[in-house]
Amino acid sequence: MSQLLEAIDLVKRFPVRVKGRKKLLHAVDGLNFHIDAGETVGLVGESGCGKSTLVRLLTRTLDITDGHVRFRGQGIGLIAARAMADHPLRREIQMVFQDPTDSLNPRYTARQTIAEAVCLLTDTRGTAAIDSAVEEAAAHVGLPPELLDRYPHQLSGGQKARVGIARAIVVKPRLLVLDEPTAALDVSVQAVILQLLDRLKREMNMSFLFVSHDLNVVRLLCDRVMVMYLGQIVETGPAREVFARPLHPYTRALIASLPGGHGNDADLLVGGDPQSPIDPDAHRCRLFGRCPRGAERCETQFPPLREISRGRSAACHFVAPTEGDVYVDAALALHQIDVDPARRATVATEFERLASMATLVQAVPLPDDSLPAPQYRP
């Protein structure tokens, strides 16, 4: 049972009133995914796609409407959000918040903030033991012990961010959710905090769910990435591969819009407003209307998330396993090389890269009788 967290057909709908009529806002609409032990998974999407809602469903601070959430095999979806604080699993799933200033009680010193989690969620008792746990967490996040007795308004943005992280890791959770942990920080501080997270990822045996709108950051820190759009997951795969070879039109558009000349301008989303998440049409792709590839089928048939090749999934009618994917799968089997899905996806991407090089070579017209350079010399 290496799956730490599993979400099955996860749904969250909010009742809303539109022009006096009662409707439902589909914030999270039938998600299926998992996070393995020790894995860092990135969750990417623009604001309004439902990532914050999803995160709160997973940390159980929000009640789910439908579907299942399993943590280490145990169903936790039905635990009421209000009851979660007292549940023994509370310490296993922790979160680092987007705005470090907002997430700290202004009347608590850093030490008190961190110690509270220790007191409430662990069996550690006694001032000395608690202080030692607090100081250990502070050392892990690079927070000098002198700053522990300061109030939030006496700390810089980066220091507050560190306190937030320390509080989350002090109880040694198995899953740490990070909700855009650097979005509210200065650019210079962002880099430092990201390095810290990278180090923590390697030092502590935790799974991370890293939520961000910044694909670049996710690519560097995460093993696997999930791309979310309007309440649904549209693509998953190893982070490097999704970045190098995006399959879903929305992912392609995200990459094309990154500064630095990645991707194709042809991949950018065409004009038009995103569809509304309120009472959406269940027979239509959510990206229809903005997708550069849109066709008739997209309007009449909803594309489910399906596996394209090992380790890569996409929710689009027009994404299919390439000949390269099929070839690589068969060739690996032939050579009896057994690789896990993430590695297989990387091999496939490298193969595509070599294939495009071979195409370049094929394109040079050579005289019919050209021979390869002699190698064997008797």
Binding site: L220, G260, G261, H262, Y327, V328, A331, L332, H335, Q336, I337, D338, V339, R343, T346, V347, A348, E350, F351, R353, L354, A355, M357, A358, L360, V361, Q362, A363, V364, L366, P367, S370, L371, P372, A373, Q375, Y376, R377
Partner: protein, 459 residues
């Protein structure tokens, strides 16, 4: 303490004149290594006992009045893919760390020893020679002596750093797609990749049979030529060796540019070079009396073909280990090697055909010129861990792109000397490739000599 000579030529001459003993040189060298290597991580093994033993043999021979050897008392080191008797050949890989030690020296190491060289040890490299930055996760990265935060280039990073830091005057390296020339460029020293098949590869760990070359690196042209002359000669044990007679070059250096027709490579070699690299190329062209720019056809395809052959042969070489011991590979190169091993034969064969064709095009160009100039690397040394770099507005991955300018030349086995340049206003060196027709290493060395005499390669 009297100042000991530092260049190989000077050391050999001083030893011959009886001014200095091999013992003194070897002791001083070991002290220098002990002091400076920890910050560089250039060496993976220091063969102190062997150095001292070889020194004693030389001193004894001199006392007996035996004639002096060309590299007498010259300390050197070799990339750790060269066999050294009694040392396990690592080739920078965790994969090979458990192997038994080599029985005998590699052919080139034996020649260095016969010429009086003192072997100080084995140098760090990119794992299995697959890389251009010597950022080795198992044995540690090698640091650039000019800026410890930057790479020394690769895959012969240890060789580049050891010579650039003055630890030894001569080092041996290997070059498949640029692995001698890239470190020479980034560390600011001279490097020679001879014609494919010139120097025997007996007793060295291979990477790509079709493209592997071995060669020397040194801090000045006379040392480079001296080492090259010592290393030359046929060897029937290596089927890829051309078995040519020795064609010495040290005396030819004086000829300089006399009668040489020089041109600068443009097109691909400007498109994929940053502003510093292009400036170096133009400056060298001017100093060498270039007649103008020429372009070779289909260089992109040539580089692509080199990539395909590298991946295919490199992957095939390690196929068994990829299957059985994948965890012992560098994660970055492992999947690339696996993908290479799966390439269809038709693609690899076509790449070899392109190779023959591209060589023909280069030989046609050499009808009108004797020497071609191009930058060695697109940029000067990048930071350790740097993932991307900007070349003329394109964001490219650092590591594979460092060899963009070297790969098409080694692909067709032309001899190249890299000469370092310090462009005004730059704190880091960058090298230029001096390229000649097959078997004309003497022309490359003469041009390098001319640049050195003109002060172009000085800091």
């Amino acid at each position: 303490m009297s100042k000991l000579p530092t260049s190989a030529t000077a050391i050999a001459a001083a030893f011959a004149r009886g001014e200095v003993s091999a013992r003194e040189i070897s002791a001083a060298t070991l002290a220098r290594i002990a002091e400076r290597n920890p910050a560089l991580n250039a060496y993976t093994e220091v063969t102190a006992a062997r150095v001292l033993a070889e020194a004693d043999v030389l001193d004894a021979a001199r006392r007996r009045g035996e004639p002096s050897l060309p590299l007498a008392a010259v300390p050197y080191a070799v990339k750790n893919l060269f066999d050294i008797a009694g040392v396990t050949t690592l080739a920078g890989a965790k994969l090979l760390a458990g192997n038994p030690p080599a029985n005998a020296d590699a052919a080139l190491v034996a020649r260095m020893q016969s010429a009086g060289g003192l072997l100080t040890g084995a140098l760090n490299m990119d794992a299995l020679a697959y890389g251009f930055t010597t950022e080795n996760t198992h044995y540690g990265a090698t640091h650039n002596p000019h800026d410890p935060m930057r790479t020394a280039g690769g895959s012969s990073g240890g060789s580049g750093a050891a010579v650039a830091a003055g630890l030894v005057p001569i080092a041996l390296g290997s070059d498949t797609n640029g692995s001698i020339r890239v470190p020479a460029s980034l560390c600011g020293i001279f490097g020679l990749k001879p014609t494919y098949g010139r120097l025997p590869r007996t007793g060295s760990f291979p990477f790509v049979h079709s493209l592997d070359h071995l060669g020397p690196l040194a801090a000045c042209v006379e040392d480079l030529a001296l080492a090259y002359d010592v290393l030359q000669g046929p060897d029937v044990a290596d089927p890829a060796c051309a078995q040519r007679d020795i064609e010495t070059t040290t005396e030819a250096l004086q000829c300089g540019l006399e009668g040489l027709r020089v041109a600068r490579l443009a097109g691909y070699f400007d498109d994929h070079a940053g502003p510093l690299a292009r400036a170096a190329s133009r400056h060298a062209a001017q100093a060498l009396g270039s007649r103008g720019d020429i372009e070779l056809p289909e260089v992109d395809a040539a580089r692509a073909a080199a990539f395909v052959i590298t991946a295919a042969e490199g992957g095939a070489l390690h196929l068994a280990a990829l299957r059985e011991r994948p965890e012992d590979f560098e994660p970055l190169s492992r999947e690339r090697l696996t993908a290479g091993a799966l390439l269809p034969a038709a693609w690899v064969s076509r790449a070899q055909q392109l190779r023959a064709w591209f060589r023909e095009q280069a030989l046609i160009a050499f009808c009108d010129v004797d020497l071609l100039i191009a930058p060695a690397t697109p940029v000067s040394a990048t930071l350790l861990g740097q993932e991307t770099m900007d070349i003329n507005g394109r964001i490219l991955p650092t590591r594979p792109s460092m060899g963009l300018l070297t790969q098409p030349i080694s692909f067709i086995g032309l001899p190249v000397v890299v000469a370092p340049m310090w462009i005004d206003g730059s704190t880091l060196p960058i090298g230029v490739q001096l390229i000649a027709a097959p078997w004309r290493e003497d022309i490359c060395l003469r041009a390098a000599w001319a640049l050195q005499m003109a002060g172009v390669t000085a800091r």
